[in-house]
Amino acid sequence: MSAIVGIDLGTTNSLVGCMEAGFPILCADADGERLTPSVVHFPASPASPVVGRAAQRLRALAPEATVFSVKRLIGRRVGEEEAEVGCALAGRPGGPVKLAVGGREWLPEEVSALVLGKLKADAERALGCEVSRAVITVPAYFNDAQRQATLRAGELAGLKVERILNEPTAAALAYGVDRLGERAKIAVFDLGGGTFDLSVLELSAGVFQVLSTQGNTRLGGDDLDRRVEQWIVEGLKADGLADDARWAGDGELRARVRERAVEAKHRLSAVEEVGVELPFVDGTRSFSRVLSRAELEAMAARVFEPVREHCLRALSDARLRPDELGAVILVGGMTRMPLVRRMVAEIFGREADTSQNPDEAVALGATLQAGILSGSVRNVVLLDVTPLSLGIETFGGLMNVIIPRNSTIPTKAGEMFTNAVAGQRLMRIHVLQGEREMVRDNWSLGQFDLEFEPSPKAQARVGVQFEIDANGILHVLARDTKTGREQRVQMASAVDVSDEAVEKMLEDSLEHAFEDMNERAFTEAQMKSRDLLAAVRLGLEKAGALLREDEGERIAQLMRAVEESAGAGASGPLKKAMAALDDATQPLAALLVEQAMGPR
């Protein structure tokens, strides 16, 4: 069996490592560099694409033929993500995003595969043997489509992907592998080029159990680069060196500005101010301005503001207070920025742990996981979680959660479906990921049809099993309880199917909004109505005497209406009646709250 390598496929940079004599070692390329810029340059055919540092150097010369930050587009649909990646975007609405470069259209995973191919070759050179298996890391908050696309990128590069591993979990492994005797709860704060993750873990006797994870797959250093670029552009305009038309049309200028912006950002982590220079920007005149760290920090504070909410959410999900954490580990290039470190200190009430190399910890962790899978690292196991709740669409455009977020994976959950009317043969199931109540606010993973044997109403029964594997990827299994027939369900993912099919899917989902779920929605509403009536009765007992007569009468009348609808069988009118009652009880609630608060 060939060795397994660990790969950090980053937005900005990528790395590859392998286990040697029980230690994770990162491989250097032919130039002796470990960090490979995740940049691909497409020269005029028939020359083949150039990857890494060489492509990076060509970016300023041929910006339109050079792709970067492609990770922000992987697994995305057109219209979902506006990230700038250098070349023009293509693809049709509802379908996957494509890149128009090098004379054809590329899927993001095809471009990522070129980066992976280079890493594979580097590892082969370092190891002196063929490499065909890999662990590849992804942001913990990647959804199913993004994970699957990453998996395909690996396959396209000729790698058997043994594991899709979450980046903060990988970093925790790199941190914790030297501390296997300790028992501690830690947080990993991972702010990279394009994504942010915060994971809370418990380390105990070689078990790395993730307790919660939160993140944002469109928040990273790239976004700050954009802000600095804007600052430069505003300066160019103020100096009369460029106007909107030139900025839009001049790819070379954009590439130069981007380079300066990134450079300024990096240098301001160490010095208080930098000069930003663009010599002969309009042929004769030059641009020159000073950017101070304070100015950069003002931009960064706005860009990274959402980080705070994610951290607090992750702690709340783990049911921990900041002071219960043993350490907050920083990884990702952006955590070099002093402001980011101050934010972390403020949020968690402690200085962050900077023991890990922010660029390398994730790759080292991926390599350790490769070691776990190949047996060279023993007595260590990662118990990771699924970052997003998995559910299906139910009546009324609501999402019904089947596997809640932060469930330890691999996990499975079953759901039973039955025919709503006699002879019904098909039922469409729409699978979703996300935390919002409404279907439209969540990610659609795809849809599939369940087949029923011809039967009287509610007699055909099909059990569906939803499994999330150790990669965080969903598998669906359907089993007819009468015939015992079992089959793996192939989901028509909106990212894979043709445009026509997507349109049809959209129409369908609008037309038959799960009539079969009607009954269940009603049962749920009925249960809620009991809670509501119980609350109102209690409230009347406590403070009913203080209500105005007309208020009391209206409440009594609406309570009867709720009771009647609760006996009727349709969820719509019941929900309306409940809403009306809820509304009418506001004065009562106010009285109760007054009572509860006592005299002020």
Binding site: E309, T408, P410, R530, L592
Partner: protein, 188 residues
């Protein structure tokens, strides 16, 4: 139906030392995880057993199902001892929702600053309610230990009050989540 007590190899009892159970879960998980050569399906069951047994309300429900004890009927309403908390929760939730709506509509720092006092008030009240719930949960935990002791004496079958307690614990869980969620929303 699977017997999660048997699966995790612990006594079938109402009360459980969750810290010890966690250790047991983690050790087993290290053996059963697919990375250690285990089967994903069996790991998922082990996982589920831990999830159920570590949460008192879910554990009691599972115990009642295994023992064939009827669940308290849904119609029985809010247990008498929790009525006050229930009312406070309902009123405060409504105010909280109103506040969030105003906060969402508030554009500009001034508008938000005008809401700060309201937020501080809500925070204090949620914290107080959280304290009430914590005490209620502690009291419910005491009762659980009492039932557990009787259970041990009777060699199983001492389930007087078990189903009412189960319902109470389930309610307290739901409220705890609600209070935690509200306090989180007020923290940013």
């Amino acid at each position: 139906m699977p017997d999660y007590f048997a699966l995790l190899g612990v006594d079938r009892r109402p009360w459980m030392d969750v810290a010890a159970l966690r250790e047991r879960f983690q050790q087993g998980a290290a053996r059963l995880h697919p990375d250690a050569g285990g089967d994903a399906g069996r790991f998922a069951e082990w996982n589920e057993a831990w999830r159920v047994l570590s949460a008192p309300a879910l554990r009691l429900r599972h115990l009642m199902e295994l023992e064939g004890v009827a669940a308290a009927s849904m119609g029985s309403g809010v247990p008498a001892g929790l009525a006050d908390g229930f009312l406070q929760m309902a009123g405060l939730s409504r105010e909280h929702a109103g506040y969030l709506e105003r906060r969402g509509a508030a554009t500009g720092a001034m508008a938000r600053a005008l809401l700060a006092e309201e937020a501080a008030g809500l925070r204090a009240r949620w914290a107080a309610l959280g304290g009430v719930l914590e005490r209620a949960a502690a009291a419910a935990g005491e009762r659980l230990r009492g039932i557990d002791a009787r259970w041990a004496e009777a060699g199983g079958g001492g389930w007087d009050g078990l189903s009412a307690l189960q319902r109470e614990l389930a309610l307290l869980d739901r409220w705890e989540e609600q209070v935690r969620g509200a306090r989180l929303e007020l923290s940013f």
